[in-house]
């Protein structure tokens, strides 16, 4: 029973996350405050613009997009780069490699518990509030199903990127530097801080060719599109699937090639 083993890790993660009651409370409240800042900021921005629609997005479009992007971020962010980097520097990685599970898989399932708690604690409440407040701006139909599929793929792509960046820590001691570069690039180019629609055309087309937009932009545009053209939907999901496969393969190969450094150098 392979899955049972994985789910045991998920369960342990949930228990661990629940140990910190005050911590969970702070996450929820802090998140709320953060959303309020975003709300007022964009309200002021749109008020100054003079027009209702900017770059094809209304105020409520932009708001829903950003709020859900933040919720997605909280839900997906797992600091795997730190985890891998520290494990490598402290030498704990050798113990992790001894576990009867591939390290990449082990780490992913160790985090899965926090996916579950974060989903219920940050994403779901945010989603319900947004849906209620905006009175049906979020269409509840087939797009929800596609959104879920898209998020799962986004998680996999995000994890693969984290894992690739984490692997780089085998070559350098600078976890902080490596991690901050990754975080900055992913947040900007995935459209998590500013919707891609606001990007200048040339820049946007370039960004669309990168894997990052599959993490935030893809699932959110699927969710917000009330009446999706089947062709567009399939293209978005298809591109995500391709990135999913490509990034997984790259991360696996890179890890395998880099692992020799541990086995040869003894960590």
């Amino acid at each position: 029973m392979k899955l049972k083993r994985y789910l045991a890790l998920t369960r342990a993660g949930i228990i661990e996350a629940l140990q910190f009651r005050l911590g969970s409370f702070v996450i929820v409240v802090g998140n709320l405050l953060y959303l309020i800042v975003v709300y007022f900021l964009w309200k002021a921005i749109y008020a100054s613009a003079g027009t209702k629609v900017v770059n094809g997005m209304t105020f409520s479009d932009t708001l829903i997009y950003l709020v859900l992007a933040t919720a997605l971020f909280n839900f997906m962010e797992m600091y795997a780069v730190w985890e891998i980097g520290r494990a490598i520097q402290s030498g704990k990685i050798v113990l992790d490699l001894l576990k009867p599970m591939k390290y990449r898989t082990y780490l992913f399932w160790s985090y899965s518990g926090s996916f579950v708690t974060n989903f219920f604690m940050t994403f779901l409440p945010t989603f319900i509030v947004v849906t209620a407040v905006t009175h049906g701006a979020v269409h509840l139909g087939l797009n929800l199903l596609c959104f879920v599929i898209s998020v799962v793929m986004a998680i996999i792509i995000n994890y693969s990127i984290d894992f690739i960046v984490g692997t780089i820590c085998l070559y350098t001691e600078s976890i902080w530097g490596i991690n901050i570069m990754k975080q900055v690039i992913v947040l900007l180019l995935s459209g998590a801080t500013i919707p891609l629609a606001f990007f200048p055309d040339g820049f946007r087309r370039a960004v669309e060719c990168l894997p990052f937009q599959s993490i935030y932009n893809a699932p959110l545009s699927i969710l917000l599109d009330a009446d999706p053209e089947p062709k567009k939907l399939v293209t978005t999901l298809g591109i995500q699937l391709i990135w999913c496969v490509v990034m997984t393969v790259i991360s696996k190969l890179f890890w395998k090639a880099s692992l020799r450094r541990i086995t040869v150098n003894g960590g």
Binding site: R11, I14, I15, L18, Q19, R21, S24
Partner: protein
């Protein structure tokens, strides 16, 4: 002469969270919590003179660290009074810190990336050590240990033994009245242990520094301490000369042997042969607890060898834990 450390009826209590088990328990914990009060230290009194080396013993969780934290001014006692050099340490932690040196387990207090000499220079400023005193101390160190190769090595590149040695030197640098050593020899090999013990002994002699030593290693206690204090579950069990204690328990040693065949069966037959001593067996060893007042270990070994073929043997002194267990079970008169 007044005592350098005076502890009177000191008690320390903590509030600890009672966690529930399992996933359901964790969810319950999220909404209601249940605390209980734990008495880590329970009305302890003792008085320590300047220049003494006192072994402070007890099993894990007995309250040793808590007592030491109170003496170093990091913790405030719930009840009772502690005076270190005539002042309550908690009331002015910084002033108290000037008078003490601490080596806390394997947690080096030196600057990780710096060569030892630079750490010493920083400590010289922090403790306001005069040039004269500093030079004197370095000279003394030079005469006691081979310090030259250590001075220019960053602490992070040192072996555990070198690091411990450096930490001890750093703790004595400002000529404190008291030095607290928590498990100074843990994880070290035999020769390094001996080196560290000699160093502590020499520094104590030279500077008349009071040393409070917590350890699980009876070797440390034998080499350094004349007096020992034992606590368990926060209560003081023993405070007296080490000779006094040895009179009770020092005659016990554990003889461990390995023999081919079913260890359990053999152990039973040995027990029949040696009814005076307790014999036990695990997967690897058969242990015989020998009371040397009744028979010499060498004689016991001879008797065993005549009846079975011994593959391997070990001789162990009775461990601190065993002594404490015995004290706890049987008491000391």
């Amino acid at each position: 002469m007044p005592a350098i450390i005076e502890i009177k009826d000191v008690t320390k209590e903590f509030k600890v969270l009672n966690r529930r088990e399992g996933l359901k328990g964790s969810i319950k914990d999220l909404f209601s919590r249940d605390y209980k009060t734990v008495r880590a230290v329970d009305s302890i009194s003792m008085s320590i003179e300047q220049g003494e080396i006192v072994g402070y013993l007890g099993p894990n969780g007995a309250g040793k660290s808590t007592t030491i934290k109170m003496m170093t001014g990091v913790l405030e006692p719930t009840e009772g009074q502690i005076l270190v050099d005539g002042a309550a340490p908690y009331k002015n932690r910084e002033r108290n810190a000037q008078k003490i040196g601490v080596v806390f387990g394997q947690r080096s207090q030196l600057w990780w990336a710096l060569p030892l000499i630079e750490s010493f220079r920083l400590l010289k400023d922090i403790y306001r050590i005069s040039d004269e005193q500093y030079d004197g101390m370095m000279k003394l160190y030079g005469s006691l240990v081979d310090i030259e190769p250590l001075l220019h090595k960053p602490v992070r590149q040192m072996s555990l033994g070198q690091r411990t040695l450096s930490d001890i030197l750093a703790a004595f640098l400002h000529d404190p009245k008291i030095v607290f050593l928590d498990e100074p020899t843990i994880g070290l090999d035999v020769s390094m242990k001996a080196k560290i013990r000699t160093l502590i002994h020499a520094l104590n002699k030279e500077k008349n520094t009071t040393v409070i030593l917590t350890t699980h290693d009876m070797g440390d206690v034998d080499a350094l301490c004349r007096r020992i204090v034992i606590i368990d579950k926060g209560k003081m069990l023993y405070d007296n000369d080490i000779e006094h204690l040895k009179g009770f328990f020092g005659s016990y040693r554990t003889l461990k042997i390995r023999i081919d065949g079913d260890m359990k069966e053999i152990a039973e037959s040995i027990q029949k042969e040696l009814p005076d001593f307790s014999v036990s067996a695990d997967d690897e060893w058969i242990s015989v607890l020998v009371d040397e007042e009744k028979a010499k270990v060498i004689d016991v070994l001879g008797r065993l060898q005549s009846s079975c073929k011994i593959k391997d043997m070990q001789l162990e002194e009775i461990s601190t834990e065993e002594v404490i267990k015995k004290i706890y079970e049987e008491g000391v008169s």
